[in-house]
Symmetry: C2
Amino acid sequence: MRNHLKQLRGEQGWSQAELAKRLDVTRQTVIALEKGKYDPSLPLAFRISRVFGLPIEKLFDPENP
Amino acid sequence: MRNHLKQLRGEQGWSQAELAKRLDVTRQTVIALEKGKYDPSLPLAFRISRVFGLPIEKLFDPENP
DNA sequence: CAGTCATGTAAAGCACGCTTTACATGTCGA
DNA sequence: TCGACATGTAAAGCGTGCTTTACATGACTG
């Protein structure tokens, strides 16, 4: 599933390590998510939503619209 | 994570089998979700959102608000 | 009463989400 | 040039998300 994490993180001026800390995950997880290697769990998706102040629907694009 | 699937399914008058079909999962998955045994994956959360016509945020309550 | 429908439990199996650890590369400032 | 920081890759390990199959129970209906 596509996401805009890398771009949004850039807008905030955060490093991967900084974002990982805010999301309470490891940097590896941030890398994997940004690279689209897999989708976040629902709880993590909610945390991402809160960190960026955007609804989940604005952060992720389900393939079949 | 809490959800309102059982109630919403009831409002639509759907059986678990009917909802499972609409979500393209098995009935076991519907049962597990309604019982809160685990959270749906993000792609499934989007499908649930579409089936009920509600945003993900209205369907699931992350514990830490 | 027999049959069907809705709901539920149980268990095995596979792929994914996330962790931990380690190492490699490029860039930048002292 | 050395060190720190940012980004990236790799691999092993664990729990969870979802499937398949099977069986049990209660309610309703012919």
